[in-house]
């Protein structure tokens, strides 16, 4: 199998430099320092062609940042991005441009991600014309074809985004991403803003398009039900680090074969389920700590029911615990 995308030790840090007042204050002995957020911390991930990888985590865990690094919206601070077996940093400008067209992103907010002053025809059709994939003359036909593919009436192509419902706008966002004939789609919470019945329609569209265009997805979501349904493999992130990777079926399996990392276990236990009645909710303690000042050792140890002395000091490595099954937890050394 060939990797379509490889991330090698990707880190992304955002730092806020001290302003003038802060610099003065620190000269005078104040404790003010540059603030650095470790949004993504040493993440390695291979994605096969045609695969759907679900990326799960709570808000602030760095999943969106990682998605943006994959697309190239944010340059990584450290690490390498390989596309079809080649390092992106060493590509020529023309190659890079081609690669960037092949990796497209679908955004969470179907309201904010469409230009309110553009007609749908231009939102979808602008990029393929600019990049020479379509002749300006053929734009209307091309857009009409795409709109039909995503289940929109092509007669609406002269309308503006505000004239569409949330579900229709999500479809416009998908059509825009598809317009440049991508191989790889990063979907950042693409269905989170939609109602249940509309969400099902859009998820079905993703499944159909995957077959039709042989697409590879990185599907970022906090909704485990959606991820479970759609993805082949699931990556769980906590506070910038990957804590567990596994095939969807294995990860969601019951009993000991299922989730390995205590965080994954807690996450799965908290998901509200339709078949559970009058559940006695048991709360996982604490909140996700600030990425400005993450806990030492294993990031999860302040909330972990199994935390040991070692967890406070030593960061657990992401190790293969079963074929194609990775987990970062010290407990695995003791089994």
């Amino acid at each position: 199998m060939s990797h379509i995308l490889e991330l090698k030790n990707i880190s992304k840090r955002f730092s806020k430099k001290l302003d003038l007042a802060g610099k003065l204050a620190s000269k005078l002995g104040s404790s003010a320092k540059d603030e650095t957020v470790h949004a993504v911390d040493d993440v390695s991930l291979n994605i096969e062609r045609g695969e759907v990888v679900g990326l799960v985590g709570e808000s602030g865990c760095g999943k969106s940042t990682l998605g943006r690094v994959v697309v190239g919206v944010h340059p990584q601070t450290e690490g390498e991005r390989w596309w079809h077996g080649r390092d992106v940093a060493k590509m020529s400008a023309a190659e890079k441009r081609t690669m960037q067209l092949q990796v497209q992103m679908i955004f969470q907010d179907p309201y904010a991600s469409l230009n309110p002053r553009y007609r749908v025809e231009d939102i979808i059709g602008e990029a393929p014309v600019v990049h020479g994939l379509v002749n300006g003359k053929d734009k209307a036909d091309y857009v009409a074809g795409l709109m039909q593919k995503v289940g929109l009436d092509a007669a609406l192509s002269k309308r503006f985004p505000h004239q569409f419902s949330g579900g229709q706008r999500a479809r416009i966002g998908i059509a825009r991403a598809l317009a440049v004939k991508p191989e790889f789609l990063v979907c950042d919470e693409a269905v989170a803003a939609l109602d249940v019945s509309i969400q099902a329609q859009v998820l079905n569209l993703f499944i159909e398009l995957r077959k039709e265009f042989n697409l590879t997805y990185l599907f970022i979501s906090h909704d485990l039900g959606v991820v479970k349904h759609l993805s082949d493999r699931v990556v769980i992130m906590y506070l910038g680090r990957v804590v567990e990777i596994g095939a969807t079926d294995a990860l969601f399996a019951n009993a000991s074969a299922g989730a390995n990392h205590p965080y994954t276990q807690a996450l799965l236990a908290e998901v509200p389920r339709l078949d559970v009645r009058k559940k006695d909710f048991v709360a996982i303690t604490g909140e996700i700590p600030s990425p400005l000042n993450p806990p030492s050792g294993c990031h999860f140890h302040p909330r972990c029911p199994h935390a040991m002395a070692r967890c406070k000091i030593e960061q657990p490595a992401l190790r293969e615990i079963a074929p194609l099954r990775f987990s970062a937890c010290h407990l695995n050394d003791m089994r």
């Binding site: 709570e58 808000s59 419902s165 949330g166 579900g167 109602d195 249940v196 019945s197 509309i198 969400q199 099902a200 329609q201 998820l203 079905n204 499944i207 159909e208 906090h222 485990l224 039900g225 959606v226 479970k228 349904h229 759609l230 969807t248 079926d249 807690a266 996450l267 236990a269 908290e270 998901v271 509200p272 389920r273 339709l274 078949d275 559970v276 009645r277 009058k278 559940k279 006695d280 909710f281 048991v282 709360a283 996982i284 909140e287 996700i288």
Partner: protein
């Protein structure tokens, strides 16, 4: 058990320039002490407006045009604004989706909470503060003494929602209306809040109306559920009955479209079309254009009918279980 809150044939309409929007149109349900009712619907189904109507928070161009809201047997619909103020935050309290909007950003938590008590009761500031402290401790906030002196921006989203819940609890209301209080929160934090709410209802006997679009939250939390569509309750009954054997085609479609109910990787079952504009439904069943069981009967208006004991559905041809 007698109902603490009983809503009968409530209609809240908005008289806009474009026409009359029937946001809440013939909604009935009741909640007893210590029980939890899930009010489920998609955006625009009128579930929040039902909550606002019970709180007396409907502003022009909206108006409650018909129906009764009985709080401990007393109809509160025609109360004067002054009487409403005595009720709100005292006998009925509301928790909103966005806790940042509920809390005043420039006032400390203690100021806001003490005010909520003193508005309804003659009580010394020290006593009120002690009650606030106890309320914060009850919803699981660590070191409540120090946290009382904090400003809302010093709390995380989950903590802010806890403060909002504690504030709603201060005057031991008979009914709490919670409008999507966990939608903006992470799964593990949502679990914590659900845990607290469940415990509080059991302990204090407060009746809770939980407004949400998430059927799976209702499944684990509520006793009864009312499913709303286009301003009307289309199905009402116990959680077990409604979720295990839905009678209304909409409830059925909604349950079938949940990913966990479908075979992995296969297309999800979906409800075709989208929610109709409330301006354009006219007479007849609002769901008829999306319904696979549609018959000519559906052009008439279906009524909420008792199917079996404690089980109501608004449909001409309910789906057999």
């Amino acid at each position: 058990m007698s109902a603490v809150l009983q809503v009968e044939n409530l209609r809240t309409h908005f008289f806009t320039k474009a026409g009359v929007v029937k946001a809440v149109d013939d909604v009935s349900f009741s909640v007893s002490r210590g029980k939890i009712l899930g009010l489920v619907g998609e955006s625009g189904s009128g579930k929040s407006m039902t909550g606002y109507s019970i709180m007396g928070l409907i502003d022009a161009p909206g108006k409650i045009v018909d129906g009764k809201i009985l709080l401990n047997g007393e109809n509160i619909i025609d109360l004067k604004p002054q009487q409403w103020r005595g009720l709100r935050g005292n006998r009925v309290a509301m928790i909103f989706q966005d806790p940042m909007m509920t809390l005043n950003p420039v006032l400390r938590i203690d100021t806001q909470m003490i005010e909520a008590i003193q508005a309804h009761e003659k009580i010394s500031k020290a006593d009120a503060r002690e009650r606030c402290r106890a309320a914060l401790a009850r919803v699981g906030i660590a070191s409540p003494d120090e946290r009382l002196n904090a400003y809302p921006h010093q709390f995380s989203g989950g903590m802010r929602q806890r403060v909002a819940i504690a504030t709603a609890l201060l005057n031991k209301p008979d009914v709490i209306i919670a409008d999507e209080p966990t939608t903006a929160l992470d799964v593990t934090i949502q679990g914590q809040i659900l845990f607290e709410m469940q415990k509080l209802c059991r302990e204090s006997g407060t009746a809770l109306i939980w407004i949400t679009h998430d059927l799976s939250v209702v499944a684990g939390l509520a006793d009864d559920v009312a499913v709303m569509y286009a301003g009307k309750v289309v199905e009402y009954g116990s959680v077990t009955n409604v979720l295990d054997a839905p009678l209304h085609p909409y409830t059925q479609g909604l349950l079938e479209s949940v990913p966990s109910r479908n075979i992995k990787g296969q297309p999800l079952k979906q409800i075709p079309g989208m929610t109709p504009s409330l301006l354009k439904i006219g007479a007849g069943c609002a769901f008829r254009d999306r319904c696979k069981y549609r018959t000519p009967d559906c052009e008439g208006a279906p009524q909420l009918k008792l199917q079996s004991q404690h089980r109501q559905v608004r449909c001409f041809h309910p789906v057999a279980a």
